[in-house]
């Protein structure tokens, strides 16, 4: 057995497809990005090595700062708005029995399986000040003003709402699974002790859901950081740069402003930020677990 299980050739043959894919699709592009990040390559013609210039420029680039702030905003928005609602709905759904439960779960999740392309265009129409669903809805309540949902101040909120709407089913489902995994005996004990729904939720459900919440929070922060496609189609970073995100910004720089080199340097910094954030989050939650 031992010899069979340490046959180098066999091991090699098993892992090589994975390694090849990794090298070809992830490592090589990153290496190339590192290289172009040090050049002033425009995308055509010659690339000249310019050292750290791109990175120096990037440190001062207010649009880049803005896009990181926007990511932070999204992350907070997810954690403060989406997740509490998702937990409550999941807890409520857990109380429901029979068919209704499945139907609701299904409805909540439907937006999630629809392509971002459809979602973004649909919401463009929903938000349209002149004939959009949202303003027409407000009109029913007597509010006749035209709200510009993509004004400089509101646009980022509008983006957040679309993302919350789109991702709600996913977050809810995970909480729901977490709640289902809680031992029913605990609830029985609580109800014998005379605890009402609210107390049970706060005293039993929430504390036991901690690991699930941690996972969800981690995913929320990371997805906020990596946001691109919805924004690309919904606002493309505008108006001005008020809804700009790192991934969208690097795309714009490379393919629109002819600054391929600069775009790549954004990519590299962006990767580093993602790595740091992921590692920190994992550390943070791992430590807590040990303490608990």
């Amino acid at each position: 057995m031992k010899r069979l299980y340490s046959n180098k050739l066999v091991i090699f043959s098993l892992v090589i497809p994975g390694i090849l894919v990794f090298v070809f699709a992830i490592l090589a592009p990153i290496a190339l990005s590192v290289y172009y990040g040090f050049t002033d390559y425009s995308g055509m013609g010659k690339a000249t090595f310019i050292g750290m210039d791109n990175y120096k420029q990037l440190m001062m680039d207010q649009v880049f700062h803005k896009s990181l702030l926007n990511s932070l905003f999204l992350a907070i928005g997810f954690i403060v708005i989406q997740h509490p609602i998702a937990i409550i709905v999941a807890a409520v759904l857990d109380k429901l029995q029979g068919k209704a439960e499945g139907i609701f779960r299904c409805i909540y999740f439907i937006p999630n399986v629809i392509s971002v392309a459809v979602i973004a265009y649909l919401w463009k129409f929903v938000y349209n000040p002149d004939f959009g669903l949202l303003n027409n809805f407000l009109k029913m309540f007597g509010y006749t003003g035209k709200i510009n949902w993509f004004s400089t101040d509101l646009a980022i909120w509008s983006v957040l709402i679309v993302l919350i709407w789109h991702g709600f089913g996913w977050g809810m489902l995970i909480y729901y699974t977490g709640i289902k995994n809680i031992d029913p005996v605990l609830y029985e004990a609580a109800s014998i002790d005379g605890a009402n729904g609210k107390t049970t939720f706060l005293q039993i459900t929430l504390p036991l859901m901690k690991p699930v919440i941690q996972i969800n929070v981690t995913m929320a922060i990371i997805s906020a950081l990596k946001q691109m496609e919805t924004v690309y189609l919904l606002t493309n970073g505008g108006p001005g740069n008020s809804t700009q995100f790192a991934a969208n910004y690097l795309y714009k720089q490379a393919f629109k402003a002819f600054k391929y080199g600069y775009g790549n340097s954004i990519g590299i910094v962006f990767i580093i930020i993602c790595l740091i954030v992921t590692v920190c989050l994992n550390k943070l939650f791992a430590d807590k677990k040990e303490v608990a």
């Binding site: 055509m44 400089t152 108006p239 002819f258 391929y260």
Partner: protein
């Protein structure tokens, strides 16, 4: 740039008056003229001569060829896209061995993808813009094939219209249009409400108040893309200061936009937006949304170029609206030098052939076919697309839409033209910057000074 368009206008004007050009060509034209009068069917006969000619050559090189055409005209059933597709279909019919594959994206997506292609290898025939912001870097990289200018001597290109497509005296592309920017307006809506076409900018703003009061949108503006507002700015500058081309090129060369004409024009734009001239949320809405506000009777006016004149023939647009579309040019500004007849116009879009195309000869052959005067130019006119960069006078059918005649009149009466809009005069970093910052300055989230400073910075 400016001079060439003036001469273009002169030529068009002359031709419109029936003064024919060189004798050798006039017979052809007369023939074509007849053919056009009988519309579609005869169009085929008219080109059958070419067909036999093409067939003869096709016999020699009958091996199958696939041409890739990358176009910025995604709507293949209306306007220019229809014209382009019609010519492609005819060409494929006449040259059975040639297959033309079209990839079409709208303008913003097109430009993005074009830059990606520039790294990779271009499709064989591409749409281009004969403007520094687009073409300078492209030509520097040498990705477009050189064309022989002598080949086009009798294609009727208006003199000077090729200049924007040249580098060091060599020709790399051909212009498709003469673009003019103006306000489209809904004549019926104006009449029903007793509104009149504004002659001065103050009248325009006063009219906007009235229109807002009636619960409608005054001007539909495609502010989600930055360029229409940049052209608006150019248009205002012309009205303030007359000819601005030197001021603009100096400003871009020095990265210094402190000339008062910039400040004043930007201020007017910002004030207008604040006064509610444009639709709510104009700064995030795209081309289609702005246009649909107008074509569905939600907006009284639409600030856009002559290439949209085909709205008048678009069956998707309700008849009572499409039959009532008219235009007026940017009204005069108080204390400004420019007149109503000093217009924002330029030669912009066109076609070129990729330098490393494997079927370069076939691609150039197709390019030349498109530009035969009775193709792009004629079909464009017949389909109400607007003005081509070639002599179109031979194709007057007598069936022109009111809108077409009005546009022709505006061009004929023009006293000067702006040339390339300000956003397209500089490098692409400048273009990207101004088109994004102009949203911020128009909606008041940055000051005029900050706007001018930051676009200046982008030039360096």
């Amino acid at each position: 740039m400016k001079r060439k368009i003036v001469s273009l206008l002169l030529v068009t004007a002359m031709l419109a008056l029936g003064v024919m050009g060189c004798g050798s060509k006039s017979k052809d034209k007369a023939d074509n003229n007849k053919a056009v009068a009988n519309t579609e069917n005869t169009a085929d006969t008219a080109s059958s001569d070419d067909a036999t000619k093409e067939d003869a050559t096709a016999d020699i090189t009958a091996e199958p060829v696939t041409l890739k055409l990358f176009s910025n005209l995604p709507d293949r059933k209306n306007g220019q896209g229809l014209v382009e597709q019609t010519i492609i279909d005819e060409y494929m019919k006449e040259n059975q061995n040639v297959k033309i594959e079209v990839e079409a994206l709208d303008e913003e997506a097109y430009k993005t993808k074009f830059k990606a292609y520039a790294m990779d290898g271009m499709p064989d025939v591409v749409s281009i813009w004969g403007q520094p912001s687009f073409l300078d870097e492209v030509l520097d990289a040498g990705i477009l094939a050189e064309l022989s200018e002598a080949d086009y001597a009798d294609y009727g290109f208006v003199s000077g219209s090729l200049e924007g497509f040249k580098k060091d005296g060599k020709l790399y592309g051909l212009p498709r249009n003469t673009d003019v920017m103006f306000f489209y307006y809904n004549q019926k809506m104006f009449e029903d409400n007793g509104w009149s076409v504004p002659q001065t900018y103050d009248e325009l703003l006063a009219l906007a108040d009235k229109i807002n009061g009636a619960g409608l949108t005054p001007v539909a503006m495609d502010g989600g893309d930055g360029w229409p507002m940049a052209i608006y700015l150019t248009d205002l500058m012309v009205k303030i200061n007359g000819d601005c081309s030197q001021i603009v090129s100096d400003a871009i060369a020095n990265g210094d936009f402190s000339d008062p004409v910039f400040t004043k024009a930007t201020q007017i734009l910002a004030d207008s937006a604040k006064a509610g001239l444009f639709q709510t949320g104009y700064d995030s809405q795209d081309y289609g949304t702005a246009m649909n506000l107008f074509t569905n009777g939600q907006a009284a006016m639409f600030y856009m170029g002559s290439w949209e004149a085909s709205m008048a023939l678009n069956a998707d647009i309700p008849e009572e609206i499409r039959n009532n579309i008219r235009v007026f040019t940017m009204p005069t500004v108080a204390e400004g030098v420019g007149k109503n007849t000093d217009i924002a116009a330029w030669n912009g879009g066109g076609y070129a052939v990729s330098a490393d195309s494997e079927v370069k000869e076939e691609a150039i052959k197709f390019l030349n076919y498109m530009y035969q005067p009775d193709k792009l130019s004629k079909y464009g006119w017949v389909n109400g697309v607007g003005m081509s960069a070639q002599d179109q006078s031979a194709y007057m059918t007598g069936n022109e839409t009111e809108l077409q005649l009005q546009i022709l009149d505006i061009v004929n009466k023009a006293t000067s033209v702006s040339g390339t809009p300000v956003n397209d005069c500089g490098p692409s970093t400048f273009k990207a910057s101004i088109e994004s910052e102009i949203q911020s300055v128009s909606n008041g989230s940055i000051s005029v000074e900050d706007f001018l400073a930051s676009i200046g910075k982008a030039c360096k």
